[in-house]
């Protein structure tokens, strides 16, 4: 590997810059690109809260920040990558997961997080979501579900509840929404959790757990979009939506995900919790074991040779390449 990536400690908490000792600051700030603030999100939006939890989770599990990459798609949550002071990739609409798949497989030492919204991950990107879960690529997917397309002005999404008014369902939504946790579970994710932006401690812990899992982990964050969903559907401002999360969420750790349907702005409980936590060989583990079995000594695992290490190829020198 190149000099920049060797010899890094990877298990301790990230040390704060010395300057912070004199004047304590918000511990999340150093995870942010402060030269890009203020951000674009509306007052009452839940995305910033999720970022706060994410930063604290990263802090808690002590991943070296040089080895952590975040990939976003398009939309309000798609802007997260741009605000995190990490190697960060703002990709195309719906394609954060396949980009992240290539990134992770081509450098297995990276921890790769996909951070995007419900429209991006479950509508246009839905096929990639299920296939990455099926392959069990070692990715952590954080899906901020605000039940609508915010960036484009509040259109109906595959997560929008029945009857809800959106700009493209002016007479109410007639399609059943996805239960994203059930979907991720069914497709093979090794870790599946759901919290709301009210549950900041629990969310932080679940993201920490997701980051520590090997394989495809999925964390759904229910978040208010007061500007484009709440206002139109008479559910109030950001605070009112937080209150709704507080009052109706019911913690159901370990419950079967088929039992976790809910109607976010209707009636009845909103099941939240750590639903799935299991182990299954991740894609590269299985690939390496499988190829070693099939090819024996002939197998050269990926990463033995990379573009900047070709000089080492001389060790294979022989009369014919």
């Amino acid at each position: 590997m190149s000099a920049q990536t060797t010899g890094r400690e990877t298990t301790t908490r990230n040390p704060a810059p010395a300057a912070d000792c004199a004047a304590p600051e918000n511990p999340v700030l150093r995870y942010l690109r402060q030269d890009r603030l203020p951000h674009i999100w509306c007052a009452g939006c839940g995305i910033g809260t999720s970022v706060n939890c994410f930063a604290r989770a990263v802090d808690a599990c002590g991943i070296h920040l040089d080895q952590l990459a975040v990939v976003s798609g398009i939309g309000c949550t798609g802007r997260v990558a741009g605000y995190l002071k990490l190697d960060s990739f703002h990709t195309t609409h719906g394609r954060a997961i396949p980009f992240a798949t290539g990134l992770k497989l081509a450098n297995p030492s990276l921890k790769v997080v996909v951070y995007s919204g419900d429209g991006d991950l479950a509508a246009i990107g839905g096929n990639h979501l299920i296939h990455a879960a099926r392959r069990n690529v070692d990715l952590t997917v954080i899906c901020v579900n605000n039940f609508t397309y915010g960036m484009t002005g509040g259109q109906v999404a595959p997560t929008t509840p029945l009857q809800a008014v959106a700009t493209t369902t002016p007479y109410g939504n007639l399609e059943e929404p996805f239960n994203l946790c059930h979907l991720a579970d069914s497709a093979g994710a090794v870790y599946v959790a759901r919290w709301t932006t009210y549950h900041v401690r629990q969310l932080q812990k679940s993201i920490t757990r997701a980051l520590q899992k090997r394989g495809f982990s999925f964390v759904e964050v229910l978040a208010p979009c007061p500007t484009l969903y709440g206002r139109r559907n008479r559910v109030g401002d950001g605070l009112a939506m937080q209150r709704l999360f507080k009052e109706r969420a019911v913690v159901k750790n370990g419950v079967a995900t088929r039992e976790t349907n809910f109607d976010i702005y209707g009636h009845g409980p909103i099941p939240v919790g750590d639903f799935i936590d299991r182990d299954r060989p991740a894609f590269l583990e299985r690939y390496n074991a499988h190829m070693a079995r099939a090819l024996g000594d002939q197998f050269v695992p990926y990463g033995d040779i990379t573009v900047d290490e070709k000089a080492e190829a001389d060790r294979f020198a022989g009369p014919e390449g």
Binding site: S2, Q4, T5, R33, R36, L65, D66, Q67, A69, V71, A81, G82, K85, L86, D87, S88, F89, H90, T91, T92, R95, P98, F99, A100, T101, G102, L103, K104, L105, A106, N107, S109, L110, N127, H128, H131, Y287, M291, A294, L295, Q298, F299, V300, P301, Y302, G303, D304, I305, T306, V307, D308, K310, A313, D314, F316, A317, G318, E320, G321
Partner: protein, 386 residues
């Protein structure tokens, strides 16, 4: 820099253009491929799937072409050289990500083994009707390079070149094969690794804080970076500044998009690869590419036998269009230009543009599904010679 010996299958082979293309990728140092099955291109990834585990590479069959075309870009930003392969319908699905590669200056190679179109068209039969798609297939303005081999040997050679050009200019490069070249079996000589020149990734050596991922060098091309180097960089398909930060202004758009176009355009002479034959005394030149150029050899012989002073110019580089080579023809007395192609008149538009009425341009259109009849091209040469 010399090729990595491990990936170079030095020797004399009898393989088709698709397999030769795969070997070219291996020789160029490509170690990541993502693809989705589609005729007549699938053999390229089939060979990579077989060969990669022996050389430290990784092939993933993705769920569709859209995923394939962005997975390779994730791999590139992790430090790999990467390729994806498809044909008409799949390339249409990849179009957004060809633009993403152009915008984010991600070096990578897209192979299009052309079949008859539009839509599902003729899956098993040749076409050359994707040449304009290769240039303009994604939305917006951008620079791109496209190469067109006319033999399995050249499918190998030009695939190495495609990777080298993509690294040199940090842009996507399209390999335009056609079904005939892809499935044609011929002798392919793969030289020893030390005879294959490979352009390495231009990774920055500047420390974090002193490096801007989209700050161009003197040639308009920025140094590259990869995840995990400590730069904590950002990249986006949005219009961006040299830091990679989104900037939504007309000024930022102008600076960025002009550079994306100019870095390729200003090097067009360096990129233009052509092959001339019998042009010294030619009054008529047949300009062609891919499988069609092999029919042109016969047509030119027949026309010469009839006393017509005809020569041929074969384009290995389609984009940027080698217009200075056409200009040279016009300067040396060529008064008739003939372009047969397996489409109803695409690249000939470039020929007409460059000729600007100074030579008679005769089109030899063909809807695809087979190759031209040499006699048809001879008649066009005769018309151009009038």
């Amino acid at each position: 820099m010399q090729a990595d010996r491990l990936g170079v299958l030095t020797g004399v082979h009898f393989i088709d253009g698709d397999h030769a293309c795969a070997e070219g990728a291996l020789a160029a140092g490509c170690r990541f491929a993502a693809g989705y099955p589609i005729t007549p291109s699938t053999e390229v990834v089939e060979r990579l799937a077989s060969r990669f585990p022996l050389v430290g590479g990784l092939f993933v069959q993705m769920e569709d072409e859209i995923a394939s075309s962005i997975a390779i870009q994730g791999a590139v930003w992790a430090g790999a050289k990467a390729i994806t392969v498809s044909s008409g319908p799949g390339i249409s699905l990849m179009a957004e990500h060809i633009g993403y590669a152009a915008m984010t200056e991600t070096p990578c190679v897209f192979v299009n083994v052309q079949r008859g179109g539009p839509s599902t068209g003729l899956p098993t039969l040749p076409g050359q009707a994707d040449v304009m798609q290769a240039r303009w297939g994604s939305h917006g303005d951008y620079g791109i390079i496209a190469l067109s081999p006319n033999s399995p040997q050249e499918a190998f050679d030009l695939t190495v070149t495609a990777f080298n050009l993509s690294e040199r200019f940090r842009c996507p490069v399209v390999m335009l094969l056609d079904e005939c070249i892809g499935h044609m079996l011929e002798k392919v000589v793969i030289p020893p690794a030390e005879e294959i020149e490979v352009v390495p990734r231009r990774l920055t050596t500047r420390p974090p804080g002193e490096y801007l991922p989209f700050q161009p060098g003197p040639d308009g091309v920025p140094e590259m970076v990869k995840a995990g180097m400590g730069h904590r960089f950002h990249m986006t398909g949005l219009t961006h500044d040299e830091r990679g930060y989104p900037v939504m202004t007309a000024a930022a758009q102008d600076a960025l998009v002009r550079r994306l176009v100019d870095k390729v355009a200003r090097a067009s002479r360096e990129i233009a690869l052509t092959e001339a034959r019998d042009l010294d005394d030619a009054q008529v030149a047949v300009v062609s590419y891919g499988i069609t150029s092999r029919v042109v050899v016969r047509a030119a012989e027949l026309a010469r036998a009839k006393g017509i002073k005809v020569g041929t110019l074969r384009l290995k580089t389609i984009w940027p269009f080698p217009e200075h080579r056409v200009e040279e023809l016009l300067q040396t007395g060529v008064r008739g230009l003939v372009m047969p192609e397996l489409n109803l008149g695409q690249l000939v538009l470039e020929l007409e543009r460059v000729a600007r009425g100074r030579a008679r341009v005769v089109r030899v259109p063909h809807a695809g599904g087979t190759v031209h009849d040499a006699e048809t091209i001879v008649r066009a040469i005769e018309e151009a010679a009038k």
